[in-house]
């Protein structure tokens, strides 16, 4: 059984159809890249999988581990193992990052019927993961994402990914706003999480990111559909020739 199966998905936002019958199959252990120009529906796809309000699914299906994902609340999806790394992570003043991480992790564990982490165990786990991502302790005490640099925000997303151990990670434009060094640190963090039990969907405009996170499969999206799929060479091809060839199709 595939981990994620998107079948003929049709999605509207305020009466305008954004996805017109999109299909995608992702198996455990695979890394898929989704590329495409602005407005092709890449972010919409990631939002619909995660359950963001404001999108109307008018046709098709999303199965996750064989279950109907569209029937679940967003927090249930998270507990089942769907993780979305945001393009623009939000700032929540007054809520310490550490508090947020513990509250979220325990909420997920509770939803799965697992016991909550004790404080010492939790701290130990966070410190280990944070150290591996080069995240200083004082960042964990600050309000979540408040005053974080672009790189810090993205590393904080990777930190959560490592902590929650999801089976599906969707990375939405992870490279936006990052310089090359920050990108490398974040990408190393992501690569460390590649595993036979986990799949990743990497959404990006640019091939650059895929030098660091090398995908197994590359899909090109245009006007709400997947128009071409291939191996990692497809990304290089796109970099050379641009999206224009697909726009006309």
């Amino acid at each position: 059984m595939p981990l994620l199966e998107v079948k003929d998905l049709q999605v509207r936002v305020e009466e305008r159809e954004i996805l017109h019958g999109l299909s995608l199959t992702v198996n455990k252990g695979e890394v898929h890249a989704i590329m495409g120009p602005n407005g092709s529906g890449k972010s919409t796809l990631s939002h619909v999988i995660a359950g963001k309000p404001g999108y109307e699914v008018t046709g098709g299906q999303i199965l996750f581990k064989g279950e109907d994902l569209l029937e679940m609340e967003p927090d249930e999806r998270a507990a089942k193992g769907v993780f979305l790394a945001f393009q623009y992570p939000v700032e929540i003043p007054g809520v310490a990052t550490m508090t947020f991480l513990r509250t979220a992790l325990n909420a997920q564990r509770k939803a799965r019927g697992e016991s909550e982490y004790s404080t010492p165990n939790f701290l130990k786990k966070v410190r280990e993961v944070a150290a591996s991502l080069n995240i200083p302790q004082d960042m964990l005490r600050r309000g979540i994402n408040v005053g974080f640099s672009g790189g810090e925000k993205k590393r904080n997303e990777v930190l959560q990914m490592a902590l929650f151990e999801p089976s599906l990670c969707i990375l939405d434009e992870m490279d936006s706003g990052l310089d090359i060094d920050a990108l490398r640190v974040a990408a190393d963090g992501v690569n460390a999480l590649r595993s036979p039990d986990r799949a990743m969907v990497v959404i990006t405009h640019y091939q650059r990111l895929l030098n660091y996170i090398v995908p197994d499969v590359v899909h090109v999206m245009s006007k709400g559909r997947v128009v071409k799929s291939g191996n990692k060479d497809l990304a290089l091809e796109l970099e050379a020739s641009g999206y224009a060839q697909f726009e006309e199709a």
Partner: protein, 493 residues
């Protein structure tokens, strides 16, 4: 920490409907005849065995009150109150004079236990020995109108601190009461304060002698139980030169259909170099989901920094009441004195809050700080109203004000009404205000990480009010945090 955890667990056990404090204790009570007249006042005064001067004081206030009009300037809307349709005095019928906690009606004690707050009192009852050095809280409990017992009297006595029901203070320390009662909030002050002066039935009295740091947190727990009773408590706290005291006040009321009136007066006085920290967690019954019932909370709280270098700090967490009309204020009379106001006001359902503060700078180099966090949800209206003034002689007066409002949903309102008057050119007043909504993006971020909608709102709101929560004593901060989440239940989705 253990006590805090215990408190949290206790609060968790109190699961009664939406309003978690909606239960009624059935005990015999003794009421004054319905309605307000000189006879009612004489009845109350006689019940309390008051000296003639006290009765005169009350009657004078009553005659004054007859000439006054109910104020209408606040942004609140409520049906006309029939002052002749209320009971002005209700006391649990005492079998005899109460000498110790053992003699209190077990029904009353059970009520306190349900309220979950005065745990220390329960501990004392159960003979729990606390380790040396742990912080203690002395409780003066006001049940309906009468103060039923105060704890830790012995230890306080050793320190020279007087902490007793004000009715006892009138008997035992008339010189202090005469000197200070009405000296901050005069009997002619305003409609509700004047009414309180006429009919107040009990409340707390605290006197901290010069140079004494009160060895424990003092706490009062108010609860309105009897039907149709107004609760008019009167609190007077005096911190003599160089002393310090921290005072906590918690309020709850059982759930009822009709509105109940609460018009309290709190007066604080600090002499030279003294400090009073006054914290309130108010969760009176706010009315049901259609806006029926609930407490009308018309309270006058004022502190007078009478001495040089003195300080008064108000911290309030207001989550209850159908109507809140409350402006804990500071008169900064002494040179270099300081006033602080930290407030969290949460309104949900049909609640209406008009609350804020007054900082009156009279002395030189006086400073004040106002941090107000208003959260409006449901169909509620939440107004911050604040006055900052500098007198001609208040050279170098400084104020900093920050008012932040958070809206949840699109049927509520938040309003900020600051009044600023400076009568000298050296005053420096700063005012900042923000209004924001909990954005969809923030909520989605939280739920994507596994929090439910309600947990997400609770988390964001607790972050929003964090600066103020940190001002509360530890025991209260945990209660308050819990209370904030409870009072916002059902505000999303």
């Amino acid at each position: 920490m253990a006590a805090v955890q215990e408190t949290v667990d206790r609060v968790r056990q109190i699961d009664v409907d939406q309003y978690r404090y909606g239960f009624e204790t059935i005990i015999e009570s003794e009421k004054a005849p319905k309605g307000l007249s000189e006879d009612t006042i004489r009845f109350i005064s006689a019940k309390k065995n008051e000296p003639a001067w006290m009765l005169e004081w009350r009657l004078e206030a009553y005659r004054r009150w007859l000439t006054m009009q109910e104020p209408t300037w606040a942004r609140v809307d409520y049906p006309k109150i029939d002052y002749q349709d209320l009971y002005y005095y209700s006391a649990p019928k005492p079998k005899k004079e109460i000498a110790s906690l053992d003699e209190i009606d077990p029904e009353i004690l059970k009520t306190y236990e349900k309220l979950g707050i005065p745990l220390r009192e329960v501990e004392v009852l159960e003979g729990v020995v606390r380790p040396e050095g742990e912080r203690k809280v002395a409780v003066d409990a006001v049940f309906d109108s009468v103060s039923v017992a105060t704890t830790f009297q012995e230890e306080l006595k050793k320190a020279g601190v007087i902490f007793m029901p004000i009715s006892h203070a009138i008997q035992q320390h008339p010189e202090l009461v005469k000197q200070y009662l009405g000296s901050v909030v005069p009997t002619s002050d305003n409609f509700f304060a004047t009414l309180n002066s006429a009919v107040f039935s009990d409340g707390s009295f605290v006197y901290v002698p010069p140079g004494v740091r009160c060895p424990m947190e003092l706490s009062t727990y108010f609860r309105i139980n009897e039907r149709n009773t107004g609760q008019f408590e009167r609190t007077l706290i005096i911190a003599d030169k160089g002393s310090y005291v921290s005072y906590l006040e918690g309020c709850t009321a059982p759930q009822r259909d009709e509105n109940q009136l609460h018009a309290a007066v709190v007066e604080l006085v600090t002499l030279d170099d003294a400090e009073i920290k006054y914290s309130t967690v108010q969760n009176w019954y706010p009315g049901n989901s259609e806006g029926k019932g609930g407490i009308f909370n018309f309270v006058t709280k004022r502190g007078d920094c009478r001495g040089a270098n003195s300080k008064i700090s108000w911290t309030q967490v207001e989550t209850g009441s159908a109507i809140t009309w409350k402006y804990p204020s500071c008169i900064l009379r002494g040179d270099n004195s300081r006033g602080e106001f930290y407030s969290i006001a949460i309104s949900n359902g049909y609640q209406q809050v008009d609350s804020g503060t007054k900082m009156l700078h009279l002395g030189k180099n006086t400073t004040s700080r106002i941090i107000s966090k208003g959260i409006a949800a449901g169909k509620s209206q939440n107004t911050y109203r604040g006055l900052v003034t500098a007198h001609r002689k208040a050279t170098n007066a400084r104020n900093f004000t920050a008012c932040d409002s958070l809206l949840i949903g699109d049927k509520c309102g938040a309003h900020t009404v600051p009044y600023i008057e400076a009568k000298n050119t050296s005053a420096l007043f700063e005012h900042e205000a923000t209004t924001s909504k909990i954005s969809e993006d923030v909520l989605f971020y939280c739920v994507q990480r596994g929090l439910s909608q309600e947990e997400a709102v609770g988390l964001v709101v607790n972050g929003f009010v964090r600066d103020v929560l940190q001002q509360l004593p530890m025991e209260f901060a945990v209660e308050a945090q819990k209370l904030i989440s409870i009072s916002l239940e059902g505000s999303v989705g």
